[in-house]
Amino acid sequence: MHAEAKQHDFEPKIVAFVCTWCTYAGADLAGTSRMQYPANVRVLKFPCTGRIDPVFILRAFQKGADGVLVSGCHPGDCHYMAGNFHARRRFAAFRALLDFVGVDLHRLQFSWVSAAEGGKWVEVVTELTERVRAMGPMLEFKSLEHEEQWSAFQAMADVPGVVNTPELKEAYDKI
């Protein structure tokens, strides 16, 4: 691991989309407990993972993120009752799409971190940062810079009902 990290000696940019109630509070707890983790992550707070539009993830990659983390409440624990289930369905479809356009899915991490799991937040962030560091900078998306291509992609990301194919079901189960 160490040797690998040396090899790609760069500081990856990690963007985290988190919900207020669980993961944001979990990250707060990591702070109050003075746990340590890599300083590469930038956190964007949402009321619920249900609010996170896949387009945001694409945009983050396009804007130079090397890794993206989406984290919310555990299934069943959503402050808004079911927002995270919708998020899960949506991202299941979206992962397949990302895969299709050639983004290495190792750069995208979904996780559940509750308000009481400061330690898990540290683990998740550290793991993703080190994994992406080893992978090197994200270059694939530079080709998506043309806006027309971009909007076509954007349109595809949200077609309702796409989640019903077996491939997507499989992707869904993996999350």
Partner: protein
């Protein structure tokens, strides 16, 4: 061009130790749209807040970012200050550079860079922010209390005494919880029943309390001030309105040999029963699994003997909906089970302690029942196997607790004290008996607690052995307990007649499921989480829901009662107003673009989306669009991320704001 002010807090040294605050402030000053940036030692202090107010006026700021601690800590403080300076409070946001930065990183250069980025993100957010007006909603001044142990009883009585209606829901046939089972209570040794029963009766007689026993929470909808809670009233098979509590059914029921849960299975009860003589309400319930009538259709004795005709075999589960403004959760704890391996649980059993195999290995609650005058032995300490009086009793503390390798790392808090109590009760009842206690530490912080413990050791002759038990086994009539005394450094072996395990306090079965219905959070042990460990110990993060007693973590009675009264006080504060201001983070539909596909309606977890018909002047239907009821909307934003035409938007989290934040990365 915006005119944003950025205020970077040192938080004493908490932030400035690892983040170069001056550099963060000067970098912020360079962000387009920032009109003013400074740093200050304590932004939350009075002078800090005044600094903010003055800057808003002097520099004509139209938005504010305070880079300091978590918004969960001080967002309200600064929004209030901004509002006092004439700014819309929703144009004030916090950049969390403490919990998310200075406290979790050591490298000053990296931490400073990160802090600057966090500030930039929030500046972009505020730049695209809109003025929002808080939504006012009415408050239903009626409280729901879940759980009728001492916590729920105390909270219900306090709220009811303040003149508000209370709905108290208990899932067992009687209220009372664990305290009703105790014999005498530390640290004063007063009889539990004597102090508990009057409170139970007060609940039953209070004009403001509606008691629903043998009932559970089915569904919870709504939000602070306006919850709709569906209750499930399990079929009791006895009509509460007819039953006079005469108890003749119980004397005549032919099924008499059912182990009594209240006595931890050591006493017997009938199929139609009240859990204990002082039960509130005093209405029996039929345990259908053990009732001959339900199992084979033959019997019906209780219905025949019941004068008022209260027994009803046809009764079914019933549901009712209660409108309440606040909820107190007081569902208590359960004890780590020594006679059953916890199913599907990561927690390992104590096979080495005769786990369920040796009848004279019991738990602390069983000892309470043996010591209790109303218990199965009439208060005599007799061993379960042969009814003989044990002369050597070994107590083992920390069974399950503080054993990370077994799955529980916390301290159960009450065991040191109740074990000391048990040795005293034993000594009082069996004068020639000897009590031994294996313990790791004696934890006795509490008023009068250490004195109580010392009394057990110094006056009541309990022998305390510091060390753990490695194994115990049955040898004839005796139980051989093998352990170590780490203070003296020797192995000890005691031939005991009875072994009492101080088993860990755990969260109730189904605690997680109830939390999911309520939308509150819980820790990895399923204990409910308070909003702030120090400053908000009774509030849940979910507004309008409060915690009392052992459901939040192991607690003794004094702590439980204090927290219950505190929760009641919070409820009364909420009920002191007729209207409540709510965060205006709600979704709005742009009717021009909405195509009426109603995908939002399908995903909205609150059922806040309604159909709205748009008609022209002649009254012809033009189209159907979605409409979000702002009173019902919870503000999750799921609709917005789902809407294919991007025509619903969540105030405070608009696409424009989020995109601007991402662009700034």
């Amino acid at each position: 061009m915006s005119r944003i002010g950025v205020f970077v807090c040192h938080c004493g040294e908490n932030i400035s130790r690892t983040v170069d605050v001056e550099q963060v402030a000067s970098a912020a000053g360079e962000i387009p749209g920032v009109a003013y940036a400074c740093d200050y030692k304590y932004m939350c202090s009075d002078p800090g807040q005044n600094l903010l107010k003055k800057a808003v006026a002097e520099h004509k700021l139209d938005g504010v970012v305070v880079a300091a601690c978590s918004p969960r800590m001080h967002e309200k403080t600064f929004r209030k200050a901004a509002s006092a300076a004439g700014l819309n409070p929703y144009l004030c946001d916090m950049a969390n550079i403490r919990e998310h930065c200075s406290w979790v990183h050591e490298d000053k250069k990296l931490a400073t860079a990160k802090a600057s980025d966090i500030v930039k993100l929030m500046v972009e957010r505020v730049k695209k922010g809109k003025s929002l007006a808080p939504i006012t909603v009415p408050v239903t001044k009626r409280a729901l209390v879940i759980g009728g142990g001492i916590a729920g009883i105390q909270a219900a009585l306090d709220i009811a005494d303040a003149g508000h209606q209370v709905v108290l829901v208990e899932r067992e046939p009687s209220i009372g919880g664990h305290m009703a089972q105790l014999s005498e209570t530390f640290p004063t040794l007063d009889c539990s029943q004597c102090i508990m029963t009057p409170k139970m009766v007060d609940v039953a007689n209070h004009p403001n309390i509606t008691l629903h026993t043998y009932s559970e929470i089915e569904k919870v909808e709504g939000y602070i001030g306006n919850f709709q809670v569906t209750l499930k009233h399990k079929a009791r098979s006895v009509d509460e309105s007819k039953c006079t509590g005469c108890g003749i059914c119980m004397t005549k029921c032919p099924k008499k040999k059912i182990p009594n849960e209240f006595d931890q299975g050591h006493g017997l009860r009938t199929a139609i029963y009240v859990p204990f003589p002082q039960a509130v309400p005093n209405t029996p319930v039929i345990d259908r699994e053990n009732c001959t009538m339900f199992q084979s259709g033959k019997c019906g004795v209780c219905a025949k003997v019941c004068g008022p005709g209260a027994v009803d075999y046809q009764q079914e589960d019933r549901f009712s909906v209660e409108a309440v403004g606040a909820v107190v959760v007081a569902t208590g704890f359960k004890l780590y089970s020594i006679d059953r391996k916890p199913e599907g649980s990561p927690i390992q059993g104590y096979g080495e302690f005769g786990y369920g195999a040796i009848p004279d290995v019991i738990d602390g609650m069983t000892f309470e029942r043996l010591a209790s005058a109303s218990g199965p032995t009439g208060g005599k300490i007799l061993r379960p196997s042969d009814g003989k009086e044990p002369k050597q009793v070994v107590f083992i503390q920390c069974v399950g607790s503080r054993a990370r390798e077994k799955g529980i790392s916390y301290c159960s808090k009450v065991c040191c004290m109740y074990t000391a109590k048990h040795t005293m009760l034993y000594h009082h009842k069996v004068h020639d008996g000897q009590a031994y206690v294996f313990f790791m530490d004696a934890r006795t912080p509490g008023k009068g607690y250490d004195e109580f413990w010392r009394r057990a050791v110094e006056e009541e002759e309990a022998v305390y052995i510091r060390g753990m038990v490695s194994r115990l086994y049955q040898k004839g009539e005796k139980i051989v307990v093998m352990g170590s005394d780490i203070q003296v450094g020797v192995q000890v072996e005691i031939e005991a007649d009875l072994v009492v395990l101080a088993t860990a306090v755990q969260a109730q079965d189904g605690a997680d499921l109830l939390a999911q219905k309520l939308g509150i959070s819980y820790d990895k042990y399923n204990f409910y989480s308070e909003a702030h460990a120090k400053l908000k110990p009774v509030e849940c993060a979910t507004a309008g829901i409060y915690l009392a007693g052992a459901c939040q973590g192991p607690k003794d009675i004094p702590d439980t009662v204090s927290q219950a009264s505190a929760a009641a006080a919070k409820v009364m504060t909420l009920f002191s107003k007729d209207q409540l201001e709510r965060d205006p983070v709600v979704a709005k539909v742009n009717e021009k673009y909405c195509v009426g596909c109603l995908a939002c309606k399908k995903v909205c977890p609150y059922g806040a989306v309604e159909e709205k018909e748009i008609r022209d002047r002649q009254g012809n239907l033009v189209k159907v669009v979605a409409y979000v009821n702002p009173g019902v909307c919870g503000g999750c934003g799921t609709c917005q991320a789902t809407c294919p035409s991007k025509s619903v938007e969540l105030d405070g989290y608009t696409d424009e704001q989020i995109m601007a934040m991402i662009e700034s990365l």
